[in-house]
């Protein structure tokens, strides 16, 4: 039943022309590939990788947040949830199904954008080198980040309106992105109390900085496999944690 919900969520996203963003991405890559070579020297590869990975990340984030915050709310608002829950489907199964559906949409979208990036890269470099493999790892890290953001958006959509959920998700995403700076701030001030608070926040907030490998990929730096495993485990732990909280909240919500 969970997979039925997931596939329906994916189909719905495709029907809503969500994947149209791919056209913008393709245009962006073509323009960058053609223009960079004419206005700059020696950084074509660097710009294409930086721009491509950044675009994959931003487009994915916009999708994860804006679709994620409406996942539950829309079903309640349109009253389609009641028909679904009348079937042998638990609320947590519904949530997991919705989450998996959006994740599938994001994965397809990311895969197609990666393909576009590869084409643009081949256009400017005329070849692929071994170090380009780190681009795939960077894409995988972006996907992990998107999976975590989607879980957060889903959590907020269980108890709040889409607008507030967007603010909460975006806020948490920004806080998680700057968590390293938050900790450094505490260290620089040399105040033990502030240091303890910032350290606590650092480990409590989802650390989105872990998934930032765009610069490493652009410079062709190798990303160790152990880090890939660690980041995967970290994302899995945090996603499970957030989905547990979402299930607890959603199962207690009065839908009448």
């Amino acid at each position: 039943m969970t997979w039925v919900v997931a596939l329906n969520t994916f189909r719905e996203a495709v029907r809503d022309r969500v994947l149209y963003n791919l056209i913008f991405f393709a245009l962006l890559m073509i323009a960058a590939a053609v223009l960079v070579g004419q206005i700059s020297i020696g950084i074509e590869h660097l710009v294409i990788v930086n721009l491509g990975l950044t675009a994959i990340s931003i487009f994915g984030l916009v999708m994860a947040i804006f679709i994620g915050v409406g996942l539950v709310y829309k079903e309640i608002d349109k009253r389609t949830l009641y028909a679904l829950l009348a079937r042998p489907l638990r609320r947590r199964q519904f949530l997991v199904g919705k989450y998996a559906g959006l994740l599938l949409t994001l994965a397809v979208n990311t895969a197609l954008m990666t393909l576009g990036l590869a084409v643009a890269l081949f256009y400017v470099s005329r070849t692929f080198v071994r170090s380009d493999l780190s681009i795939l790892v960077a894409v995988y890290f972006i996907l992990l980040k998107l999976a975590l953001v989607t879980a957060l958006a889903l959590l907020f959509s269980c108890f709040s309106t889409p607008m507030l959920s967007t603010v909460f998700t975006l806020g948490l995403y920004l806080a998680g992105t700057f968590s390293t700076d938050i900790r450094s701030f505490g260290e620089v001030t040399e105040s033990p109390a502030l240091g303890a608070v910032t350290k606590f926040l650092y480990y409590l907030l989802p650390n989105f900085n872990n998934f930032n490998a765009i610069a490493a990929a652009a410079y062709g730096r190798q990303i160790p496999l152990i880090l890939v495993a660690q980041n995967t485990a970290y994302a899995a732990i945090y996603i499970t944690l957030v989905l547990l909280a979402a299930a607890a909240i959603f199962s207690n919500r009065d839908l009448k």
């Binding site: 490998a213 730096r221 732990i237 299930a247 607890a248």
Partner: protein, 300 residues
């Protein structure tokens, strides 16, 4: 939904969330250790033009200046914490900050200190500090204290006593300037880089600043000057001892026993100085007093 299902979900969350957070903690520590090698952030400043940034700020240039100033402080603090002597982004960051807000005096004042301090405490670029303060003066011509800051950099960091005296004199002509600015100009012109002038200068800094970090720095310099003066005198007494006994004293106590000194001299932190067999005085390694001239030596 069934009551048992709800309860199960709540229990799962209540037990699972703390457990998962506890699992995430050691994992994050491991990732921290590894992620540095991958991210190896090269210091970068994408936009170096303050004028472009000012336009892009859409009128929020003052707030953006505050953000850039905070970034400059974090950058400087981070470099010092990591003992990294490369401060290459400091000057551009300060330039951006002060272009966005030309009246942000704190950025000029502290920025100049960060730039002028010799490594590892700072960038060791007093020339850039002078440029920064000169821009500050251009944008804030009524502020006499900026002339004092300029004079200070010329005097202490560049040892250019002529320019230092000129800066203090120029500042003394600004409205509201304190009398000691003229005294300072005269003293530097007359004595150059004497210890007495230095002490007077640091004393003024110590008395006039409201910032605890600057006061602490001035206090340390005053302590250092006092220790250098003590050491010089101690070496004179050691030379006198040698003339009388044909050898240098083994310690300051021997000078007391010979009746040359009334008591064992202590540095400003209360530690006795160390005399080496060649009659030179040094700081005790346990002493918190630091000096560029006196190196700490273990008592023999």
């Amino acid at each position: 939904m069934k009551q048992s299902g709800r309860k199960r979900n709540i229990w799962a969350a209540a037990l699972g969330i703390p457990l998962l957070l506890a699992a995430a903690y050691p994992l994050q520590r491991r990732i921290d250790a590894r992620v540095r090698t991958v991210q190896q952030e090269k210091d970068e400043l994408m936009l170096r033009s303050g004028r472009v940034l000012k336009k892009l700020s859409l009128g929020y240039d003052s707030l953006l200046a505050d953000i850039y100033w905070t970034r400059a402080v974090q950058y400087y603090g981070g470099k010092r914490r990591d003992h990294d002597p490369n401060f290459e982004l400091l000057a551009p960051l300060l330039d951006l900050t002060t272009t966005l807000d030309p009246h942000l005096l704190v950025a000029y004042k502290f920025g100049a200190i960060f730039l002028a301090e010799p490594p590892p405490k700072g960038a060791g670029r007093p020339d850039l500090a002078v440029n920064l303060i000169r821009r500050a003066i251009m944008n804030n011509p009524e502020n006499w204290r900026l002339w004092a800051d300029l004079g200070f950099i010329y005097y202490w960091d560049m040892k250019d006593y002529k320019k230092a005296a000129e800066a203090y004199m120029e500042g003394s002509r600004r409205p509201g300037a304190r009398d000691w600015m003229k005294v300072m100009a005269a003293k530097i012109a007359e004595e150059g880089g004497s210890r007495q002038t230095s002490r007077f200068l640091w004393d003024q800094v110590y008395r006039s600043t409201e910032d605890p970090n600057i006061r602490k720095n001035a206090f340390e310099h005053l302590q250092s000057l006092k220790a250098e003066e003590d050491a010089e005198r101690l070496e004179e007494f050691a030379a006198r001892f040698r003339r009388r006994f044909g050898r240098f004293p083994a310690s300051a106590r021997e000078l007391v026993e010979a009746g040359i000194l009334p008591g064992v001299p202590l540095d400003p932190a209360g530690y006795s100085y160390v005399l080496t067999p060649d009659g030179k005085a040094h700081l005790n390694p346990s002493s918190p007093v630091t000096s560029d001239v006196l190196k700490p030596v273990l008592p023999h």
